[in-house]
Amino acid sequence: MTRTLTLTVNRQSHRIAVAPETTLLHVLRNDLALNGPKYGCGLGECGACTVLVDGLAARACVLPVAAVVGHEVTTLEGLATAEGLDPVQVAFIEEQAAQCGYCLNGMIMSVRALLNHDPHPSKQAIRAALEHNLCRCGTHVEILKAAYRAAGHDDEGECV
């Protein structure tokens, strides 16, 4: 049964007629044309679909859209501001931390969520935060480097 829901996505308000159990990911990609979040496993396992809800990481592929009514949703597209890209995005570019790039949305959003919670996390906390974000290309070293850079760990050499 279709209902009209009001969503706040990237600081903009949208009214969408949708079945309330539709996943947030489908609404973002299909209705709002926000293709930053990716469809990976569809079961909340891989993290490619990660978005922020009230600044917390959320797996958009298992979240019914009705659950985010009244909350602030931020997608990859909403990280940048008029002043420029988000520091996490800048760090990933500088480290060239992408192979195919499919997991990158989830990596960037998860690091953003971590930094929202703790602006200076330990390397161990960074690794824990990215533990359930899967990358199939084996780009983990570059991704971790980018995350450390975003978190302000400047000691380049050692990344593990």
């Binding site: 079961l43 909340g44 993290g47 298992v62 979240l63 019914p64 009705a66 971590l114 906390a125 935060a129």
Partner: protein
């Protein structure tokens, strides 16, 4: 032929498509305006048809046009209905004749008091009174909806359907088709002692016209839509009776004038198709008059005008006698009540017939007649009025010999529900004096047969079959006393056995007239009960209701009803305690069908009542069971696997054909309290009427109001698949005797109000025990220690709610409240499976009610009020213990890390999609059986509308059975390490997957 044969002739059942390959289904479209008034038929003229508008629709649509008759024929009823909706027709509006009355006015005008209908003036010597009585051209459309089928082929016509007037129907079909009499075969059920023509005849003619056009058998669904024909055809008879009373209250002058003698009104299709000249019908009035109607009374100055109608045209003397008897006996009752006399005494005053006087005296003695009637209001619910009426008839025998004729005196007791308009005949005392020969048993049998025949179409409700007679019902309210003396002639050649319709129809028409007091006696009792005079039958619930509402403005009874509703308010507990007495005293006829009624109007109940009913429905979780997988709310079809076979929930939307649209309140209440369907069948106790019986009257009424105010959905649930002997519904009567206590809820005075309120909700509407109590081998809930001891329902385990609870942390009242209110308890987990929609429903209830339920359940568990510090620290220990796996089950761990950990492991970083309650506290992992864990993994957890429950995807499509087994065993070992490993997990996984596939399609 019995009733069911008439509804489903020649193997045609309700499923479209089973007419055989060649059968078709037809729907008629009547003109926007058509009516018969005083013998003249007028209707809108059909100007054009756009057949292209339905050309693209499926179902081999054929449009049948004959004059102004429009029918649509298709291969299924749905297709025909859809095409009828879409078919573009152009009608010429009726402007020339102007006065097109709004629909429904015709009936209304004759049902109640209206200015112009009543003339009352002071006469020189006393009082002068005139009343008009009517008789409709059509009675209702029969007892319940059903098929009418016509097959017009090879110059012959076969018709299957119900009719009360086979002779007239045949005559009309001959006119319609031009076929000679011998080529028309009516395979019809002549209804026992019909009191007039009903719409079955119109439907038969409709089917005939369509069948002739398409050259195949055509079935028409005869249902409430034919009520338009009843309204449009209006009155057949109108009789004016007047009298002048002298100072002593005796009738000095008596006049009886036939104002309208439409006699039998031909079927609508005859008028529409143009076969009948629209101006020709009043020829009956110009034909030779017959002898005046006989009246048993003697008045000093009496003039009885003959009806201007010949017997050939009329064709049914019995009905004519009924009509005049109705007018006369109603009028005498009105005269008596207006002048403050005992209606019986008034009749005796003018009756100069020893045998008649003796009969009346005997019957009044037998019935305990007193004047004024003292309606015994004790034990009646507030909406029910009782009344008592009397009527008498004497008729000449076949040869016109008055002394040899039949005398009969009737006294009827009725109950009227002011809210629903339902009239129930609670007692009938009939005395019949037919002459010298006595065969009491036979006469009594015939009376029972005939009384039913009269009462059924009048009241749209049957008295119970098994409570007849002196020895039948014991102290029951419903009994018939047949007073028989000096039975003269054997009333019919064949003895009556059973309810065989054919034999009844074989009786001579005059015998119908023996029952002529039957109509007036009910009208008189209705007046006694309600103060509203019905001057035209039938007295069906919608008409009674309408009349009661119409009368309200003047007599103030609407004001009373309004006050009563507002006083109900939201006081459940008070309602439960007070209203139960009424329910207990109301004996609805056991097992007999309660006749269908038209769906109550949406505005019948106040918004307050409907809102209250919505809350009752939420408390009772009606929609949880009565909504199929992915189906429309309350339209039924959800499958229930029971040990005895598969049951499907029914459609409880107010659709008249497939839902409960034609259930009267009485039928609804009986189903809720006794588990008996409107048609008299027993319902299976999967429907928790054992719990619903405890609902208060006020809540029951509100629930009925709410359900009837919802949109009607046409949906037929699948047939139940039960194994023998459980497919025998009659067995449920024995089951009920053993296990069902229909007593409404009684509060326990030693407990608090909060506890009693909770008990009322949990034991009654909430029917917690329906799922949470184990059932015995016969499917009855177990009580005592086993009450709320947990059970398996729909493949889920409903955990114990008593001291047997296996929750790792003991529940508290506060935790129960938060779980029921928000779907989640931080120390126990979330509601899932069939419990999720229950919580969603409870979300609609006031906080105090949910607190009451929590209080009651907590008392069953001996739970504390709040979570203790002990419990909290114990919980912390459990969570800490499970942080790392020590089981050494590698395969399981890998599955868990890959699929579950992203939500179910606390990394210290909060996430929006993280599971809120640690698996270490989840009751399901501590249970004796793995079912709920398996269900959650396969199907996930879904409750979009309860924010606390969260959402988990199902893994049925990504995990194999062995992976699920591995994972389940791992979860048990890691999160409930103190519990023994489950055995047989693999078997349960494959079984549950199989069952889920079945129910989810």
């Amino acid at each position: 032929m019995n009733g069911s044969a008439s509804r489903r002739p020649t193997g045609i059942d309700r499923r479209p498509g089973s007419l055989g390959g060649e059968g078709r289904f037809g729907v008629v479209i009547r003109p926007p305006v058509y009516r018969l008034r005083d013998g003249t038929f007028v209707c809108s003229r059909l100007l054009g048809v756009d057949r292209n508008s339905v050309a693209a629709l499926p179902g081999r649509i054929e449009v049948v046009i004959e004059g102004n008759f429009v029918g649509v024929v298709a291969t299924s009823l749905q297709a025909a209905r859809e095409a009828a909706r879409r078919l573009h027709l152009e009608w010429q509006p009726l402007t020339a004749t102007g006065d097109s009355p709004p629909r429904g006015r015709a009936l209304e005008a004759e049902s109640s008091r209206h200015s112009g209908n009543t003339v009352e003036t002071a006469a020189p010597q006393g009082r002068y009174l005139t009343r008009h009585y009517g008789w409709p051209s059509r009675m209702r459309w029969g007892d319940e909806p059903g098929w009418v089928v016509a097959d017009h082929a090879h110059d012959r016509l076969d018709v299957w359907g119900p009719t009360a007037t086979p002779t007239l129907l045949k005559r009309d079909l001959m006119a319609l088709t031009g076929l000679p009499q011998e080529t028309i075969d009516l395979h019809c059920t002549a209804q026992a002692s019909g009191i007039g023509r009903h719409c079955g005849d119109d439907a038969a003619a409709d089917a005939t016209l369509m069948s002739r056009a398409v050259g195949r058998p055509v079935a028409v669904w005869l249902d409430a839509s034919y009520v338009r024909d009843v309204e449009s055809l209006g009155q057949a008879q109108r009789i004016a009776v007047s009298a002048e009373l002298n100072a002593q209250g005796a009738i000095e002058r008596y006049r009886n004038r036939q104002e309208l003698a439409g006699s039998d009104t031909p079927v609508v299709a005859l008028w529409l198709s143009g076969v009948l000249d629209t101006q020709r019908h009043d020829d009956g009035a110009t034909s030779e008059p017959v002898s005046p109607p006989f009246s048993p009374y003697t008045f000093r100055d009496q003039r009885l005008a003959a009806p201007g109608v010949s017997r050939e045209v009329h064709g049914d003397d019995g009905v004519l006698e009924l009509q005049h008897g109705f007018a006369r006996e109603s009028f005498l009752d009105e005269v008596a009540r207006t002048s403050g006399q005992d209606p019986v005494a008034l009749r005796l005053r003018h009756l100069d017939d020893r045998r008649g006087v003796e009969l009346i005296e005997s019957v009044t003695r037998r019935a305990g007649w007193v004047w004024p009637t003292k309606a015994n209001e004790e034990g009646l619910s507030a909406d029910v009025n009782r009344g008592r009426g009397f009527a008498y008839a004497q008729l000449p025998d076949r040869h016109g010999r008055i002394d040899e004729g039949v005398r009969s005196a009737w006294i009827a007791d009725i109950e009227v529900n002011r809210i629903t308009g339902d009239v129930s005949l609670t007692r009938l005392v009939v005395g019949q004096d037919s002459g010298p020969l006595v065969d009491t048993a036979q006469l009594q049998e015939i009376l029972q047969q005939r009384v039913l025949g009269v009462a059924r179409p009048l009241l749209a409700r049957e008295p119970s079959f098994d409570e007849w007679g002196e020895n039948g019902g014991g102290e029951s309210q419903s009994k018939l006393t047949a007073e028989t003396r000096d039975v003269a002639r054997a009333p019919c050649s064949t003895p009556m056995k059973g309810s065989d319709g054919e034999q009844v129809s074989a009786l001579s028409p005059l015998d119908e007239a023996d029952l002529s007091p039957g109509v007036a006696v009910i009208a008189n009792a209705l007046f006694d009960a309600t103060g509203v005079r019905f001057r035209q039958p039938p007295f069906t619930a919608p008409r009674v209701r309408q009349a009661l509402q119409g009368e309200c403005g003047t007599s103030g009874s609407e004001a009373t009803a309004g006050r009563r509703l507002s006083r109900w308010r939201w006081r459940w507990l008070a309602g439960a305690a007070v209203a139960t007495a009424g329910a207990a005293a109301m004996l609805w006829p056991w097992k007999s069908p309660i006749a269908p009624v038209a769906r109550p109007a949406a505005n019948l109940y106040s918004a307050e009542t409907i809102e209250r009913g919505r809350l009752v429905a939420e408390a009772g979780d009606c929609a949880v069971c009565h909504t199929g997988q992915g189906g429309i709310d309350n339209a039924g079809g959800r499958a229930f696997d029971t040990p005895f076979g598969t049951l499907y929930s029914t459609n409880i939307t107010p659709d008249e054909a497939t839902g409960i649209g034609n259930w009267s309140y009485a039928a609804f209440e009986r189903a809720m309290r006794h588990g008996i369907s409107r048609d008299g069948r027993h319902l299976y106790p999967a429907f928790p009427y054992t719990a619903f019986a405890k609902t208060s009257d006020a809540d029951m009424q509100a629930l009925y109001a709410y359900l009837m105010a919802q949109p009607a959905v046409s949906a037929e649930p699948p047939a139940n698949e039960l194994s023998f002997p459980f497919n025998m519904r009659a067995l449920m009567a024995g089951w009920n005797a053993l296990y069902h206590d229909a007593a409404p809820f009684r509060p326990d005075p030693s407990r608090s109000d909060l506890y009693n309120r909770g008990a009322y909700l949990a034991e009654g509407l909430g029917h917690c025990s329906a799922c949470h109590s184990p059932r015995n081998v016969l499917g009855a809930e177990q009580g005592g220690e086993r009450y709320l001891a947990g059970a398996l329902v729909e493949g889920w385990e409903a955990p114990p709610l008593n001291a047997l609870s296996r929750s790792p942390i003991p529940w508290s009242e506060e935790a129960l409240y938060r779980y029921l209110r928000g779907g989640e308890s931080e120390l126990h987990g979330v509601a899932s499976g069939p419990m999720a929609p229950v919580v969603a429903g409870l979300g609609e209830l006031p906080e105090s009610d949910v607190r009451a339920i929590a209080h009651y359940v907590a008392a069953q568990m001996d739970a504390s009020v709040n979570d203790t510090d002990d419990a909290r620290s114990q919980a912390q220990q459990l969570v800490a213990r499970s942080a790392a796996s020590t089981s050494g089950m590698e395969a399981g761990e890998r599955l868990f890390d890959g699929a579950c950990a992203s939500c179910h492991v606390d990394t210290g970083l909060p996430s929006f999609t993280q599971a809120k309650v640690s698996l270490a506290l989840n009751t399901n992992l501590y249970s004796e059986r793995p079912d709920n864990v398996i269900q959650s993994i396969l199907g996930g957890v879904h409750a979009t509308n309860v924010s606390g429950i969260g959402e988990m995807p199902g893994f049925a499509d990504s995990f194999s059975d062995s992976q699920v087994t591995t994972l389940v065993e791992y979860l048990r070992a890691r999160f409930a390490p103190g519990e023994p490993a489950w055995s047989g997990v693999a078997e349960r996984v494959s079984q549950i997957r199989k069952d889920d596939n079945k129910t989810h399609g």
